[in-house]
Subunit: 193 residues, 4 copies
DNA sequence: TATGAATGAGTTTTCATTCAT
DNA sequence: AATGAATGAAAACTCATTCAT
């Protein structure tokens, strides 16, 4: 087994542990046990717990990014925007357990610049797509000229993030994705001329 | 000093520590030092670290709730809704440091039923106000009859929560409150007939 | 309530706690709670945990001693000996829970001279009765002249103590009092000419 | 040094500590110091203080059992019984310090099923030997047919246990092994036809 | 590469006792 | 006599990391 495969094996085990116990309660020993390797074995591939955590988070964000299908760039900006959000809803729903884990990583972010940076990349990439489509809608006269594309993009992103978080913290309080979808459609309606 | 005041004194000290160090890096010893009492003194009032954390969170949510001024019930539903959201923005801004702390507690919530329950109460109370106003707007013919008050209320709540979270995790990425305000106004515009 | 009654009230509560939790797991707080008084209240009457324990043990031994009915000094030495042992069996059976507690105190004895001394008094008092009766049997020609009264007395005492202990440590292994009784009768048979 | 040897090294150190300080006053730190290892090292082999105590007790009972030499099965049942008891006396005398420690463990037994079970095994093994010999004596017509082998076996066991206990609790009150021996011989005399 | 015994500073918690009121 | 808040040394145990093999 190659070194890269070993790393992935360790990350996979650690991910399962984190999903089950949460980041606060997960110990290096748990990760080691789940890896199927020994202490020294794991430390050979990840020189510290923090490095392993970054490895897990990176993998998580990659999965998230890869899950987003390419949206066909045909149709009006509004239609493409709706498709993009629907795609996002699917990703959130299908990666529910991973997203719960992402919330755990949030707690690390303020104290770990590297984690914060990883999150930022993920945010910016999605934001760029959203604001791009909104700008396109304005240019094509579909959305009001007074619309601030960046603000609305960040609002949409916050809407979905906030809803995902609420689901984690207080299960069964929101109904996903219908609540998010309904609100997003209302935002789009508000933007239309 | 009464027992109740002592509890508050301990909670206040712990809150400062938590804001500064985060919940993951805060040690019981930090809380004890900040309390001005001895180890046994603190444990006399809170029988474990977890109980103290719950005490802090409860106080936090109480502060949050109390910070929401009573909104005058004059004017149209739309006007009242805007006032309510502006008030919420003010609270988020003024309690920025507390909200960062709240994010820390979010992570605890999925593994601590008592914490989850506390959050739920806070959510429901704000949601009720929002959906009440939206319903009123529908009844008065200001908002579209097709609007789903609960869904939009939950969407608005998620919008603000998500934006608050983003600010904590990736500072300087969103501009608060303008982004939230702009998005909220667009939602309201989308609801209007 | 007089000071003496208060002391007894505290001792009674502590005795219940000790029976339930054992001496190793019983805390001063448990005694205080069981006493119905406050911390300071209990400490007013017993200046330390050790003093309270000695108070409990003393009371226990007094109960034990008082439980032994006076044996009528009529009949042969053998008959009186049998009556005395039957009486002892009854005491052991009726004070089973107290005796379990006594075992707990045994472990304290080697490290607490005052406790050791209390036990010694109890031992000596019962031993004196036993060896007195055996000596009487020898003098009256009922027991063999070669009998060593002190040795047999200590043997009988050890027999009952050992059986009591076994019952505490490994319940249901011995059948009391029949096993003890049977063995004691065999000892008496062995002493008879 | 193998893992098994390390365990034994830790047990040996802990045994010395327990003999010197008693089970109530012995701290985990004492065991750690006596082991020559570090805290983590000891906890690597015994996951709690209780588990270590069980390790010590198990070893103690094994020593006790192994110390009993095989009794030649020639001679009458009475002769073999006497040899067995003499052997037991020797073991008790030579392992005096270990037996004091056993008394300490008695106190743990009522609240620790695992400890209780260990004692039970030791009891049953010795009882089986005793009652077997007594039965043999009955069969061979040496002992009275009315003798109850189990009861007398348990009585003999209790006699020695009780005497051992008395020695620990009130030193110098009994004279061992002569008191036990004298009583045991009287029991045997009482069983003989 | 991999093993797993070992480290030890750090963590939460306990608990007999004191003392101002 | 009584209260109960407060003390603080000491207890058991944790856990990321190291290192000889």
């Amino acid at each position: 087994m190659s070194s890269e495969e070993r790393r992935q094996q360790i990350i996979d085990g650690a991910t399962e542990v984190l999903i089950e116990k949460g980041i606060v309660a997960s110990r290096m020993n748990d990760f080691i046990e789940a890896s199927g390797l020994s202490k020294g074995g794991v430390y050979h591939h990840f020189s510290s717990k923090e490095e392993l955590m970054i490895g897990v988070l990176t993998h998580l964000l990659v999965i998230n990014a890869e899950s987003m299908q390419a949206i066909p760039d045909t149709g009006s900006a509004r239609e493409q925007l709706i498709l993009l959000l629907q795609e996002y809803e699917k990703v959130i729903a299908s990666l529910a357990q991973y997203n719960r884990l992402l919330l755990d990583f949030f707690v690390l972010a303020p104290h770990t610049p590297e984690v914060s940076e990883l999150f930022k990349q993920g945010y910016l990439s999605f934001l760029a797509k959203l604001s791009g489509l909104i700008q396109q809608g304005i240019d094509e006269g579909e959305f009001k000229a007074s619309t601030n594309p960046e603000a609305i993009a960040r609002g949409l992103q916050a809407l979905y993030d906030g809803m995902g978080m609420t689901m984690m913290v207080v299960p069964n309080l929101v109904s996903f994705p219908s609540d998010a979808s309904e609100t997003a459609m209302t935002i789009i309606a508000g933007m239309c001329r």
